[in-house]
Amino acid sequence: MNYLLHIGVMLGIYGMLALAANLLIGFGGLLTMAQAAFYGLGAYTYALLSLKLGLPFYVTLPAAIAVCAIVGWLFGHAALRFRNEAFVLATIGFQMIVYVTLYNWTSLTNGPYGISGIPRPSFFGLGIESVPAYFVFTLILFGLVFVFMQLICRSPFALSLKALRDDEAAAQTLGIYPKGQYIRAMVFSAAAAAVPGVCFASYITYIDPTSFTLTESIFIACILLVGGSGNLKGPMAGVAFMIILPELLRFVGLPDAVAANLREIIYGLLLIVLIYMKPKGLAGSYAIK
């Protein structure tokens, strides 16, 4: 039972990450490869504030969101001058800078040894310790992020992002300011990515930089490319497929050493076939340009 609940927690964490990335990739049409950087910043902010300052969860979560939003705002000002490949490369650059910093700033982050003993959240003296309790907690956080994203999707802001995505010049003639709207999207996306970061750090109780690499960012982008983007169904389909598939492969009886590589090969082939046959993904409404 705990195994199924653990998968449920991971589905919730990646669901939040996919929803956060969807704002930029699906609504803004900007293929970002920096989502794991914000995920990591959220996780490290939570871990450091909890362990070094002993702050409670209801302070560390908003603090992690604020840190990611501020970094997203600063990074957005630089990266959103670019489009297409240059934007992708700028986000890769940012992802690498964050990773190298987390890995090498040993006095703060403990470098490759990571941070252990991260406290689980507790409210009014009641700690969330068991896996079932953590599953419910993740579900609540996921619900909050989902509702937040749904509100955004139904707002004029999402419509303006879609207009910019489809034809930036035409959208500008309607009075939509691209840089301002894209920076808002970047800030919302970065802030939303902090929540799964906090959730991950407090669930596993140990983090190191290898959880927040460029490969992780590529995986998050693949979730959207396989499942689809531009609506809320696509990311959910992508998360369900990409997280549940490797678990199903466990039951085929492949040796562990082979299973990991085979899973990646399936992802890669699927990416090529799907982007060719169904560019909008399994349930998306936007085909990447």
Binding site: E85, A90, G93
Partner: protein, 293 residues
């Protein structure tokens, strides 16, 4: 001072090899307008093809080099015909082809890990003899890297500058649909670009893997360095890719002098973001009018 000069020398040697994989990325990016992520797959494939020829089949070195080049050319042609061309014929955007390219990278990297294992493989197990020039020490492989890197880059550069077909290749990057109208063989030119890129990447892969060995995941590192060098130098000029690669390698090497080897990636990507911000066309690139871009 001696350490500075040694690091500068090492940076120049690394730069000579980096010029090759940067050109391997740049020539496909410039001609297809595709962020050629599969270059990382080509790099890993070439490393392991060299390992297979030299250490598994135990061919003599010249034959192993030829075998690797042939295999790498076939592999490049396979990527073009099996992946890039169907997307091109369907009229897919560059973003879509980039994702397919990412798929190729993921498949190849993991297929190689499946067959050869995830551990590091080495080709040469001997201590390399070194040569001393004015107090600076270089290994025999470093000298080979420098001369082969500069030589191959210059030869391909001369082909790009003076070859009739390369004018068409450059035009292909701007308006591929015009080439058939002018009676030029578009599909053959695409194949030429991919195979030439394959040769450049394979040469770099052999030089690097012979020196420091390989693992199935090195491709992404060299893809990133190659693409950063191209954007750093300027995407539209062949010589700018080489200059970008050389400068970047020197900067990386000198970063060790002042900071530590652990921070070289920070220097690379910090420089990239700095250049993108203040000179988006690259250090040696030409700025375009809005309607040209």
């Amino acid at each position: 001072m001696n350490l500075f000069l040694q690091l500068l020398g090492n940076g120049i040697v690394q730069g000579a090899v980096a010029m090759l994989y940067a050109a391997g990325f740049g020539i496909v990016y410039r001609s297809f307008r595709v962020f050629h992520i599969a270059m990382g797959a080509q790099f890993v494939f070439s490393c392991y093809a060299f390992y297979f020829c030299a250490c598994v089949v135990k061919l003599p070195l010249p034959l192993a080099v030829c075998g690797t080049l042939v295999l790498s050319v076939f592999f490049a042609a396979l990527i073009e015909r099996a992946v890039y061309l169907p997307f091109f014929r369907k009229g897919c955007s560059s973003g879509v082809v980039m994702i397919a390219s990412l798929g190729v990278m993921i498949v190849v990297e993991n297929a190689i890990a499946l067959f050869f294992g995830n551990e590091v493989k080495t080709i040469s197990n001997q201590l390399e003899p070194s040569v001393v020039f004015g107090g600076l020490r270089f290994t025999r492989i470093q000298l080979l890297q420098f001369f082969v890197g500069i030589g191959v880059f210059a030869v391909v550069g001369a082909m790009v500058r003076f070859g009739k077909w390369f004018k068409a290749v450059w035009a292909m990057g701007d308006q591929p649909e015009l080439l058939p109208v002018l009676g030029l063989p578009l599909l053959r030119l695409r194949l030429l670009v991919m195979t030439l890129g394959g040769v450049l990447v394979a040469t770099a892969a052999m030089l690097i893997s012979w020196d420091i060995g390989m693992d199935p995941h090195v491709g992404m590192h060299y893809l990133l360095l190659g693409s950063v060098a191209v954007f750093f130098g300027g995407t539209d000029r062949y010589w700018a890719w080489g200059a970008g690669a050389l400068l970047l390698s020197i900067l990386q090497s000198l970063a060790v002098w002042k900071f530590s080897a652990r921070w070289t990636d920070l220097v690379t990507f910090g420089v990239l973001i700095f250049v993108l911000l203040f000179r988006p066309q690259g250090l040696f690139g030409v700025s375009k009018r809005l309607e040209e871009s």
